[in-house]
């Protein structure tokens, strides 16, 4: 197997606690450098994981095959231009881009440079998500009638200081829907094989340009054009039902955000009929999902540089942008860090 050299752009929590432990254990993968404007943090990470180089700028980085882009979405423009220009494949942590236009620009640029793109929507690789998708796809519960999704809670302990990027509307992309929403939205879209959406109502609670809660209703288009009612809430203001509920003609299934969670099946009368999955520990299940995500991307880079909309989660980006535009059409321009 051809060795794969990986560079890390960003030395934050998500790199240290989620990606690095997995990357270090993948056969044939070597970490060539870690790049972060906070050089102390980059050096600390490099020291812990025996990464040969810790640098402040991409200009100082040696060639690699793949770059993990794990910097705030509002700060990615110039970095992605350099990465794609050097012919490196890019695996981006969610959210992929703040707007559909930005998203399409990145994809077009990657195609022009003939490099592969990936997105860190790890829940696609959860056993429960695959199981739920297969169950719904089998038709055993009948056609879908309603889809509900919720995530979040009243924000209490963040454990972060004043320089946390999520406190900046520009850096974070504007709020909880952009920060936490992609996982939930993509999870719903994956399980239900959503083709398109229609937003009838979207209410957001915003303060100083930061959105703290979004509740959105409308219809998701499935099964070749059939609309199904949906309701999604993402919040940092209130404790919310955390999970996904898919109601079908013959029953209902429920699952949560946990990587080791079960899929619960309910009968038509609301009685629980059974549970599937959920045997391993949370840590093991999450590691397995991240590993699957990386393996899939590395294999895909070796096969082809063509990406489809699914590979980068374009529908998820478009949906999230549509929610923001529903309330403030000019907002999308304000946070976009990438122009055409």
């Amino acid at each position: 197997m051809t060795p794969v050299r990986v560079g890390l752009l960003g030395a934050g929590n998500v790199v240290e606690s989620l990606h690095l432990p997995v990357l270090c254990s993948l056969n044939g993968v070597t970490i060539a450098w870690v790049c972060d404007k906070d050089t102390a943090r980059a050096r600390a990470l490099a020291s812990t994981y025996e990464i040969p180089r810790a640098v402040e700028s991409l200009d100082d980085c040696v060639d690699v095959d793949v770059v993990l882009v794990a910097i705030p979405v509002g700060a990615r423009r110039s970095a992605l231009e350099k990465i794609l220009a050097r012919g490196w494949h890019a695996f981006c942590e969610k959210p992929f881009a703040p707007t559909r236009r930005d998203h399409e620009w990145i994809v077009a640029e990657a195609r022009r440079r003939k490099v592969r793109l990936g997105i860190g929507l790890v829940r696609r690789h959860y056993a429960s998500v695959k199981m739920a998708r297969a169950l719904l796809g089998s038709g055993v519960l009948g056609p879908l009638t309603m889809i509900l999704g919720g995530e979040g809670a009243r924000v209490r302990h963040t454990g972060r200081g004043g320089d946390w990027y999520q406190g900046s509307a520009q850096a974070s992309g504007s709020g909880v829907l952009m920060e936490a929403g992609p996982h939930l939205v993509d999870q719903v879209f994956t399980i239900c094989r959503v083709e398109d959406y229609r937003i009838d109502h979207c209410r957001q609670k915003v303060l100083n340009g930061m959105e703290f809660e979004t509740s959105v209703r409308g219809a998701l288009i499935v099964d070749g054009g059939r609309p199904v009612r949906f309701g999604i809430v993402v919040s940092q203001l209130n404790d919310v039902y955390n999970g996904i509920v898919v109601r079908c003609q013959n029953g209902e299934l429920r699952l949560g955000a946990a990587p080791h969670g079960t899929v619960e099946i309910y009968g038509r009368r609301g009685n629980i009929a059974g549970q599937l999955g959920g045997v391993s520990s949370e840590g093991k299940a999450f590691s397995a999902a991240v590993r699957a995500e990386w393996q899939e991307f590395i294999d895909a880079c070796a096969r082809s540089v063509e990406v489809c909309d699914w590979d980068t989660g374009l529908l998820t980006t478009a949906f999230i942008e549509a929610c923001y535009r529903f309330n403030a059409p000019a907002r999308a321009e304000a946070v976009s860090g990438i122009g055409v």
Partner: protein
């Protein structure tokens, strides 16, 4: 009228928002909150509260944030790994102690300093016996605060908070989840003291302290009048229209309580030795499980030796080991030991407990509907806590 300026450190936590809400209604008090970043400050600012953002750990910024306060209420709790937490929280206490002027500090500790299952024969207020990392950490902070204040003009009241219940509080969530679990039974019918406090009573006590300062010292903070577990559980289940949780029988309750008391009384070193011994006993079995080849060799050896007596003894020992492990697991119902506590020792803070109003029960019902019922997602119109 000169209002008493009061700053709440950790305003974005579990109890902080309720304190802000309650104290803001009193015209004699000017209250504001401190949050570390804009994300935790946002929800509170949306609710109309005055919030200052910054780190109290840094003495320079602590002076900016709290320098003009008369009273500082520290209900913060840092998250993260243990060493980082300890360093951060000690830094905070040091910075507060070093503020200029003479201030009154109300520091939130926890009833956990007395241990998980409080045994009044072994615990006193002066010498509490925590048996869990959280309780030890809280006791360490109490002692550190008193040491810091020796060189300071400030006065302090340390409140060992009971288990807090009410809207948004972990104990209410625990109770409401337990009410949905058909296996859950309340020990001794719930007649044991709960060592709990409704979040409205926490607020009432703090208001009383601000307006009528107590003798500096350490006090327990519980419901006034004190409540039993049955009262706490029933208040929560009534709020959401659920059935009361069933009671555990008296004999079973005594057996479970005796077990937890015995466990709580075992010193850490003895527990460690016991666990290592148990682990050593499982080594042969786990070695065989981990090395299937050993098991195969064992079977082949027994078959070739044709010693039925030896084979019977080996199988008997193996079955006895397995049965012992299963039996131990099934012996005790899974139950949180704090449900079996005695009343905590030491002086309670005296205050006039609020009538826990209908509004509080309605708020619990609304809160529960939002986090427990998926249909709430379709008709989401959250009015806020």
């Amino acid at each position: 009228m000169n209002r008493i300026k009061s700053g709440i450190v950790g305003a974005g936590g579990q109890v902080g928002p309720k304190l802000l809400s309650y104290l803001s209604d009193d015209p004699r008090i000017h209250v504001f909150g401190i949050c570390r970043n804009e994300v935790s400050a946002g929800p509170l600012r949306m609710e109309g509260y005055e919030i200052r953002c910054g780190s109290v750990t840094d003495p320079a910024t602590a002076a900016d944030l709290l320098g003009d306060c008369d009273v500082i209420i520290n209900c913060s709790a840092t998250s993260g790994p243990p060493a980082r937490k300890s360093v951060a929280e000690r830094g905070m206490l040091r910075a507060i102690s070093g503020l200029p002027g003479k201030k009154r500090v109300i520091h939130f500790s926890s009833v956990a300093v007395y241990g998980g299952c409080i045994d009044s024969r072994r615990n006193t207020s002066e010498r509490p016996r925590p048996d869990q990392p959280y309780g030890r950490h809280k006791l360490d902070l109490e002692r550190y605060l008193w040491r810091c204040l020796r060189a300071s003009a400030h006065e302090a009241v340390v409140l060992r908070l009971g288990h807090v219940y009410g809207t948004g509080q972990w104990l209410s969530r625990f109770v409401l989840d337990a009410a949905c679990d058909p296996r859950f039974q309340l020990p001794f019918g719930g007649r044991l003291p709960s060592n709990s406090v409704h979040v409205r009573n926490v607020s009432a006590a703090i208001r009383r302290l601000i307006l009528d300062w107590s003798q500096p010292g350490t006090y327990n903070l519980f419901d006034a009048p004190a409540t039993t577990w049955r009262q706490v559980f029933d208040w929560n289940t009534n709020a959401v229209g659920a059935l009361c949780v069933p009671s555990m029988g008296e004999e079973e309750s005594k057996r479970v309580a005796a077990y937890h008391r015995r466990q709580a009384a075992i010193p850490l070193g003895v527990r460690l030795a016991s666990e290592i011994t148990s682990w050593l006993r499982t080594l042969p079995g786990s070695f065989i499980s981990a090395c299937p080849t050993v098991k195969t060799l064992g079977i082949l050896t027994l078959a070739s030796l044709r010693l039925e007596g030896l084979e019977r003894r080996v199988l008997k020992r193996y079955k006895r080991m397995s049965a012992r492990a299963d039996g131990r697991a099934a012996a005790m119902p899974a139950l949180d030991s704090w449900l079996l506590s005695d009343g905590a020792p030491g002086a309670p803070l005296l205050y006039r407990g609020g009538e826990i109003e209908i509004d509080d029960a309605t708020a619990v019902a609304d809160w529960r509907a939002r986090y427990a019922e998926p249909d709430a997602l379709l008709n989401w119109d959250a009015p806020g806590p």
